[in-house]
Assembly symmetry: C2
Homo-oligomer: 429 residues x 2
């Protein structure tokens, strides 16, 4: 790769408070795929490099999905009439059990990775299943596509059907196999993935604690998603002072980067614990709506300094597009504020965009912004079909907002990950 510049309408969020907008500006990317500079005019020292002129397109950082269940891909948009626990029993576990079959896994996981690509998500933190070979296959598919991922082999050994269970020993061995497998995949890594407290016995949790301490693996799981789940955890782990404490007691809360999905009902002691342990909340508003879980208090998390990112959480969530998830984050924030008597500030578009880009990307390296040194993960949006030829035309920020609310994969004309143009994964498999 040589140095190269991209000319386009550049929009990104160095901070959540505001968009940085550079109309018809240049991003210079070095031979390692990292941003050197963004500027209005091509700096003289780069006058000789290749410039790719993207015309009137918008160039933004690519999307990052910090919570998604790959083996639930076939259940997307299905069975939306159930609450979390019966939904797991009736739809999710039976589908996940099929991943014992690697051929099945390869087929559906290929479609899953392609669909992430289609919607502009270049990095994802993914739950697979308990099945080693299928999970390694998923990692391989990300690698082959040139996309980034933290891939989690799931651990679960109680309160679930035999076919989707493993045990602590198998989980440890299989996670080691996954770590080995991804060692030569630069954009893919392994993440410790205890499903959630109700599925993990103390033995499993202790095994995770040891593994994480030894290998320095990041951790992802679920936390305080809905009322019945929280009550169940209280019953299962009576000595834990709150749901989060049931992870903390086993060394699974903040010893390494830790991502907890949902947190709809994290408050008081638990909220303080998330802050103290530096846990990242993964907000999954589409899922929380579909399963009727509730509305996470995102504004409060941000105000007290807890990091928040976004997750599609398919198939609790119905759609892989993180732009769609952004819409719901904004909408749920407004409803949350109204239900609280209007005393809470809504999330703004730049805050939601920051969650999806710079906040989400920060867990994959320096990803999610166009500041110097960031890996060039980017989307090129040709939104001509969303503009209408009427004057005065839309401003650049209006065009971005309209893309978030009205656009889809049809307007995404190029996708870059770590400096490389990423073609349709279907053409590479």
């Amino acid at each position: 790769m040589k140095h190269k510049a991209y000319k386009a309408n550049i929009i990104y969020t160095p901070t959540p408070a505001a968009f940085e907008v550079v109309p018809h500006g240049y991003v210079v990317v070095d031979d390692a795929g990292k941003v050197v500079t963004v500027s209005n005019a091509l700096p003289t020292q780069w006058a000789h490099i290749e410039v790719e002129d993207l015309g009137d397109c918008i160039l933004i950082p690519a999307m990052n999905d910090l919570h998604v269940h790959a083996p639930q891909f076939r259940n997307q948009g299905l069975a939306m009439d159930l609450e979390l626990l019966p939904w797991l029993e009736t739809y999710t576990f039976p589908e996940e059990s099929k991943y014992a079959n690697v051929a099945y896994a390869r087929n559906v996981y290929s479609q899953f990775v392609r669909e992430l690509w289609r919607h502009g998500t270049m990095r994802a933190s993914v739950f697979a299943t308990v099945h080693r070979d299928a999970t390694i296959e998923l990692a391989r598919l990300f690698h082959k596509a040139g996309m980034g991922a933290m891939v989690g082999l799931v651990g679960m050994d109680r309160n679930c059907p035999e076919a989707v269970c493993n045990n602590a020993e198998r989980m440890v061995n299989d996670t080691h196999a996954l770590i080995d497998a991804v060692s030569d995949m630069p954009l893919v890594s392994a993440i410790a993935t205890p499903r959630f407290v109700p599925s993990c016995s103390p033995t499993m949790m202790r095994a995770y604690g040891d593994l994480v301490a030894r290998e320095g693996l990041p951790v992802q799981s679920h936390l305080s998603e809905n009322h019945s789940e929280i009550a169940w955890v209280k019953e299962l782990e009576p000595e834990a002072s709150c749901y989060a404490d049931a992870y903390r007691r086993y060394g699974l809360l903040g010893h390494t980067p830790t991502f907890m999905a949902h947190c709809c009902y994290s408050e008081g002691e638990e909220e303080q614990m998330l802050l103290d342990c530096g846990v990242t909340v993964v907000h999954c508003p589409t899922s929380n709506c579909n399963l009727g879980s509730g509305i996470a208090p995102v504004r409060r998390f941000l105000d007290c300094g807890i990091g928040v990112t976004l997750g599609s959480d398919i198939s609790g969530g119905h759609h892989l597009s993180i732009f769609r998830v952004m819409q719901y984050a904004l909408q749920m924030s407004k409803l949350h504020s109204t239900l609280a008597g209007g005393r809470e500030a809504f999330l703004t578009l730049s805050e939601a965009f920051y969650m999806a880009t710079k906040s989400g990307g920060s867990h994959f390296g320096r990803v999610g912004s166009f500041e110097p040194g960031y890996e060039f993960d980017a989307l090129v949006i040709d939104d001509a079909t969303l503009c209408d030829g009427v004057t005065p035309s839309y401003s650049l920020l209006e065009r971005l907002e309209r893309y978030v609310y009205l656009g889809d994969d049809r307007q995404l004309c190029r996708r870059y990950c770590s400096g490389a143009l990423i073609p349709d994964p279907a053409t590479r498999q």
Copy 2:
């Protein structure tokens, strides 16, 4: 037109309680565009008629949008950071003022009608503006497209900028002009459209009361959308016992078919009044989320016997697809139930589908179902791109649910209104 049969996977909702599913069945449509019968096999007396084989496609009734602001089309997906009243002042009224210019109106209204078509909405109840010529142009565009509409010339004479105001006399004269203009448009009619109480003086309301009594026009307006609006109405109409009563007192609640959008906070006396007056509630959940208005108690309305339909309400709503609105209706129903301590049943998919089809369509004649005598308003869905070639394949109802949550206009391959195949309106204008 001659009798004709369509062969496809037929799905519709004669009642809200359940889908009627006829795999590879036949709909026979007569020469007037009305459904004669739906059956598993082609009845012998129709053995000679033309059969259009739609293969493995799904055939459903077309969508009906009972609350949509055509002149807000350009504001779709914009300015989502404001609550109702400031949003009206800052974005909506300035845009609506442009419709004094008929050329502007023709340009944007053409795009609006085409976009309704694209998303499978064959009938709509539409707010235009106070401008006569632009409103007649909108009616003409629906007629030319072969699509159904109730078109409303808006009345408003207080609390809004001069450029979007009329007065009672102009409203009455211009509505008569609209009634004349649509008299030779079989699928288009006029609807009385007082914007909402804060915009309409007692003089305007009385003029509407007289007009509706004289002409038998249906009525559409807004009701109990958010807290500040409700408080304002209480101030403006101190003698009204509730917001709905401020319409009732002028003969604008149920003397003729009456559609009230939102009703997020209609309860007690107001709810009883809606029931007693036979008012139809138009549920606009995308809009209610975007503007942080709240969640309408739809389950309670249905349980007490109030009719409920769906509206996209652009540009409070961000998207014209009634399938998208269905998603939000289901999701908001789940959140509403959870916030009420889980003591309320969610809406089911068949209930939401019924609202969008048979309930919504009932206000345009016998529309929205495939029962005998219904006008053949239909969509053909080719969802092959949403199926994944994995066996076992999805059931027909699963395919429909996945289309609702994951599909878009790309899967809609044909659209029928009142028996006629409706081509892209852009090819007819």
